[in-house]
Amino acid sequence: VSSTPVVEGPRVLAGPVRDRRRARRKAARRRRALVLGLMSPWIVGFTVFFAYPLVSSAYLSLTHYDLLSSPRWVGLANYRFLFEQDQQVWPAVRNTLWLMVIFVPLQVLFAFGIALMLTRARTGIGFFRTVFYLPALAPPVAATLGFVYLLNPATGPVNVILGHLGIEGPLWFNSPHWSKPSLTLLGIWGVGNLMIIFLAALIDVPRHLYESAELDGAGPLQRLRWVTLPTISPVILFAVVIGVIESMQYFTQAYVAASIATGQAASESAVNLGYPENSTLFYPVLLYTQGFRYFNMGYASAMAMLLLAVALTVTLLILRSSRLWVFYQGAGRR
């Protein structure tokens, strides 16, 4: 735009050139205003619900803040307490890691498996798709209450049936060894959303790839390994990233299960959280407890900042590793 040569004397054309420049600047300003105007809903949403809480948390993590009086600057004291003194942090981290390492892969595998079976079904696909998707519609609190009832060690139908078979069922939500597997069962049961995404991806795999592989003599397992998995690998990446982030935010089910399984009244105190024996004390549960039950919001903010850093690092690592195993058809690159 600015390369237009000016051959006449500046004195003669100075006025029109200035006017044109002014007009261009005005038009650019108008464009910027229009862009800003069109983006303003996003800017407001981003500022209020993301930027402000994020910057606020970062600031509060450096203060002692009890929710009731003004924050008091304490520097890195909250972080020192987090890394050096709080003995509940590492059990919470271990429990959360358990979710990331066992719960998430199982969820992805199960969703993928169901979707794969649905693509093979000849009749009743609509019925089975609905059946497997329906649990995803159950609110997390209601679903957890249902599972605590089903897996009640004394009166729950699962243990009653196991009892009829001569097997003494486990203590489920009342055992530190079984509480996380019980939550995993609950998670697998409600895997419908992921299953639908996998189903869409599987249906989208080009037929001709399977036919070519078949002509080359590939069996079902080889077709799965060399055709299906590479083709849907972006969806697997999505499922893993979302699953890992969700596992780092896992709260509602753990909160409800621990509160109900003790048989105590639902109280506002935090005595039951983590029951039994801190086995359901996940990182977000501890964060909530510190912030909203112990009036320790400064420390809870420091925990949140650490969570953000870990979530970012893990997500980046997964994305970086994805270069080795994710195949993008459109971009034509690995």
Binding site: P176, N272, F292, F295
Partner: protein, 444 residues
């Protein structure tokens, strides 16, 4: 565009300190009694009560409005501590607030979210000796008295009379040794060895089996010289060893399995109400649930068994608390309501009859208006007992109880060796003290 976003973010960052902490400048300082100022005023009273209980509370408020006709009270129920926190933070707090969570008082008092009432108490020459020591303890944080009691809860012992008679036991146990003996004699097992009726469930973190309620049975104390002193008081170790012996007699897994089928605490399927457990530790409010849900149950009440004879008759006392939140617009009128609901003998008796809670002053224990019920009278005696005790008021809420309970869960499951008990308690103390220090240090 980029510059615009950066400016926007900087503006947001700059605004943070303004957005936090609410308004510290609001003035709710004491101005003594406001009975001379009779300008009509409407005040707001937030309480956690709902439905029937709120209607009972409203009868007390009606009595207040009759005595102070120029003050109208807008009573709002179903208010949680979180809502009070948010309102104080936002600067739109009610004039008077009540909450069940006594654990929160330390934070509310230390931060000034509930104002110190000492000046008002002095100005009105309000005699605090009319309350038992336990109430004076749990309504103050150090020197700051930020709360007044709204009735109280006293914890004692309930026993199933037919089950005791069937086992040849004539009365409730008075010592913890008798308790263990009776518990075994009253327990019935199914043919497969599972528990059918439990004499006394010794697992902590179930129903009202929590350390604060059990501590008074052994006279155990929480704090020593401003720090957590669980390991320094041998009573806790004695309590935990007694408990573990009884748990082992039942079998830990068997007890957990039995508990899972025992029914929710606050429902008609409560294990004591349905006769699945013969003896429990519980608050006076259970008498109301029993009357409403299982009037056919023949039961008795008594002080809980103790490890030392001189402790017999005492128990754990706690209760709902009320305060004047920072930013209250009509703090003087609010103070009149606070004082009235905490001290008016007739009103306390009426509220006690309606809510089946203990009236909070010593004088109200003898009110002729109080319904004469021997089962309930047990709790009045526990409440008035000089050796009854309460929990420490700390800035960290119930964190000390949570940390202790986490350790006890491992202990009762057999995951802590007997020889490691003392070291385990020392570690709990260490965690609690670290939390106290992290919360701001000072312990009153």
């Amino acid at each position: 565009m980029k510059r615009a976003l950066v400016v926007l973010l900087l503006a947001v960052a700059a605004s943070i300190p303004l957005g936090c902490g609410g308004d510290d400048s609001s003035d709710t300082s004491a101005s003594g009694s406001a009975t001379t100022d009779k300008t009509p005023v409407t005040i707001t009273f937030w309480s956690p009560f709902t439905d029937r209980e709120q209607r009972v509370i409203n009868t007390g408020i009606a009595a207040f409005e009759k005595k102070y006709p120029w003050i109208t009270v807008k009573s709002v129920g179903a208010i949680t501590a979180d809502k009070i926190t948010a309102a104080v933070h936002a600067g739109n707090a009610p004039d008077v607030a009540a909450m069940f969570e006594t654990d929160n008082l330390g934070a509310f008092c230390a931060s000034g979210a509930w104002t110190d009432l000492n000046d008002r108490i002095d100005a009105d020459k309000l005699d605090m000796e009319q309350f038992p020591q336990t109430i004076r303890d749990y309504t103050a944080y150090g020197d700051k008295r930020c709360a007044m009691p709204l009735l109280a809860d006293a914890y004692g012992f309930y026993y199933n009379k037919p089950l005791l008679a069937k086992a040849g036991i004539k009365g409730p146990p008075k010592t913890v040794d008798e308790l263990a003996d009776y518990a075994k004699r009253l327990t019935q097992r199914n043919p497969d060895g599972s528990l059918k009726i439990v004499g006394f469930d010794p697992l902590l973190n179930w129903y009202e089996n929590v350390p604060v309620h059990w501590g008074p049975m052994w006279g155990a104390t929480w704090m020593k010289d401003g720090k957590s002193g669980l390991a320094q008081d041998p009573a806790w170790e004695e309590m935990l060893r007694w408990q573990k012996r009884l748990v082992d007699w039942y079998g830990y897994d068997k007890l957990v399995r039995w508990q899972a089928g025992a029914g929710d605490e606050f429902s008609p399927s409560n294990a004591f109400e349905t006769g699945k457990v013969a003896m429990i530790l519980d608050g006076e409010y259970r008498t109301a649930f029993l009357a409403a849900e299982h009037p056919e149950l023949q039961y008795g009440t008594a002080p809980h068994p103790v490890s030392k004879p001189d402790l017999y008759g005492s128990g754990f006392v706690i209760g709902t608390i009320m305060g004047l939140p920072k930013g209250a617009k009509h703090a003087d009128a609010g103070w009149q309501l606070l004082k009235f609901l905490a001290t008016d003998t007739n009103t306390l008796a009426e509220l006690s009859n309606g809510l089946h809670n203990v009236p909070s002053t010593i004088a109200s224990q003898d009110s002729p208006k109080l319904t004469n019920d021997p089962k309930f009278a047990t709790f009045l005696d526990i409440f008035a007992n000089e050796k009854s005790s309460t929990q420490p008021v700390l800035k960290i809420g119930a964190q000390n109880q949570t940390l202790f309970t986490s350790f006890i869960e491992k202990w009762q499951a057999g995951r802590v060796k007997d020889e490691d008990l003392h070291a385990g308690l020392e570690n709990v103390d260490k965690q609690i003290n670290a939390a106290l220090e992290q919360s701001g240090g000072e312990v009153p």
